[in-house]
Amino acid sequence: MPAGYAFVADEFGEMTLLASKSRTTGLGVFPRLPATAPSASQYEDLEIHGHASLYSFTVIHPNPKSGLAPFVLAMADFPQEVRVLGRLECALTDVAIGMKLSCRPASDNASGFVFVPAAGAA
């Protein structure tokens, strides 16, 4: 997993993502700004966790020549006022705007995390 984006925070395997919060607007941005960035002082660290709400999505169909299967790319809004873009592992027929999502590790994904439907979420 790339350093700096996420870590497993609890015994259920859910992840905490590392973001930044603008000191000016109070709004979040993911991923966290590099600590070495001269602009880093304009932000404070923010950990995002809990269930996100699916804001929008698309099912990407790679060119048939690639042999790759369709996958879902999602925009997920977290309660900490941060939007995160990531892959969503879910039956295509079950994907719906507003569904609750959680974040899990994903070893086959370059970002190291993936969204899944939140267990027990309405």
Partner: protein, 381 residues
């Protein structure tokens, strides 16, 4: 401030060309110079817009043309490169730096081997998103998903944009794709990024060049003199929090500046060339350009107002969807089309009686910024 005219306009067909990039630019430049009825020696500066061609491309392109010597500015602003070059050239003319300049845009996407245009890889955030599978079509697709959800509309409303623009493109000899399509054909074409199908995406393998002559000297040729009344370029804000992806903020902001400078109200616009790289974009830009009230873009489309023969035809050239989108050339080609429309020279696709035209294009989708660049121009006779 000095008036700036577009006295000459020309472009190559947008197509998969086997000729060289030099050939395309030289054809467009010589065509625009002839159209303006000036000599190559009248050119005091050159602006060359391109994205993928590499450094000092402009000098390479015109080396053999015999106009070496004057200042040559290479301009890159992704899909808004050409429009940005026109903006910069006009500013220099207004300030009295030059009297007559040429601006061209060119791209040879066939040399990239086809497929989706890659995101730029110079940003840690874009790198992460690209690793997730993010491409430009998927950015627009997520907007489309949200649009249909919020407005409670069927996918066919997106397809209707493709039907309209491809019908216009079938009348344009400069367009790459000249086949009319039906809603059913659009929806049945290959899925790219749902809800966008292949016929809702601009062609990805296309080459072309376009050129305009800008001058502060009132044109003496027989065509109606076209003036640039307003010209604006803006950059995108950082996306923080959980904003509304249907809000075309950068486009609305840029359009407001261009309209204000022009002293033109959106209701006075007669014809528009806008950045329909994907069908959803045109619907969002109707609202951002003030062609209709927020929330009314689908109604505007379905009223026929933006079709040829309607109140304000949008993309009579076929737009990016049919004409093609060679990135660096697009912004200049939009102006060539509007010049032809305002002069009454757009044979087969003329917006009758058009006196005020608008061009709009957006450049680049950096992760974390709505769009990297936006440019809007207001032209009039």
């Amino acid at each position: 401030m000095r008036e700036v005219y577009i006295s000459g306009a020309a472009m190559t067909p947008f197509a998969r060309h086997t000729r060289s990039i030099q050939d395309l630019v030289q054809e467009a430049v010589l065509g625009a110079v002839r159209n303006a009825e000036i000599k190559l020696s009248d050119i005091q500066a050159m602006y060359s817009a391109n994205v993928f061609g590499g450094m000092i491309l402009g000098q390479v392109l015109v080396r053999d043309l015999g106009i070496t010597g004057p200042a040559l500015y290479n301009v890159e602003n992704a899909c808004a490169s050409g429009a940005t070059a026109v903006h910069l050239a006009r500013m220099a003319l207004q300030l009295g730096k030059y009297d007559t300049v040429v601006v061209w845009g060119v791209e040879m996407l066939s040399q990239l081997g086809g497929g989706t245009i890659p995101l730029q890889r110079n940003d840690y955030k874009t790198e992460l998103y690209a690793a997730q599978g993010l491409t430009l079509p998927s950015v627009y697709a997520m907007r489309a998903t949200r649009y249909l959800h919020e407005r409670n509309l069927p996918r066919s409303v997106l397809a209707e944009i493709a039907v309209k623009n491809r019908a216009a493109g079938s009348r344009n000899p400069y367009a790459q794709q000249r086949k009319e399509v039906t809603v059913e054909e659009v929806l049945a074409s290959r899925q790219v990024a749902e809800p966008l199908t292949l016929l809702q995406c601009c062609p990805s393998v296309v080459d072309g060049a376009a050129c305009v002559v800008l001058t502060t000297r009132k044109p003496t040729n027989s065509a109606k003199p076209v003036r640039i009344l307003g010209s604006a370029v803006q950059s995108g804000h950082q996306e923080l929090g959980c904003g509304d992806i249907l809000d075309g903020e950068i486009t609305a902001r840029t359009a407001r500046l261009a309209y204000e400078e022009a002293g033109v109200d959106p209701s006075e616009v007669d014809v528009v060339e806008l950045h329909d790289a994907f069908t959803i974009a045109e619907l969002i830009y109707y609202e951002a350009l003030g062609l209709c009230a927020p929330g009314e873009s689908a109604s505007l489309l379905q009223s026929g107002a933006t079709s040829l023969g309607g109140r304000v035809p949008v993309n009579p050239s076929g737009g990016l969807l049919a004409k093609g989108h060679p990135l660096g050339a697009t912004g200049v080609a939009q102006m060539v089309e509007i010049v032809w429309q305002l002069r009454g020279q757009a044979e087969g696709r003329q917006a009758e009686g058009a006196r005020v035209g608008v061009t709009q294009c957006t450049g680049g989708g950096i992760a974390g910024v709505d769009h990297a660049a936006s440019s809007v121009h207001v032209l009039a006779v």
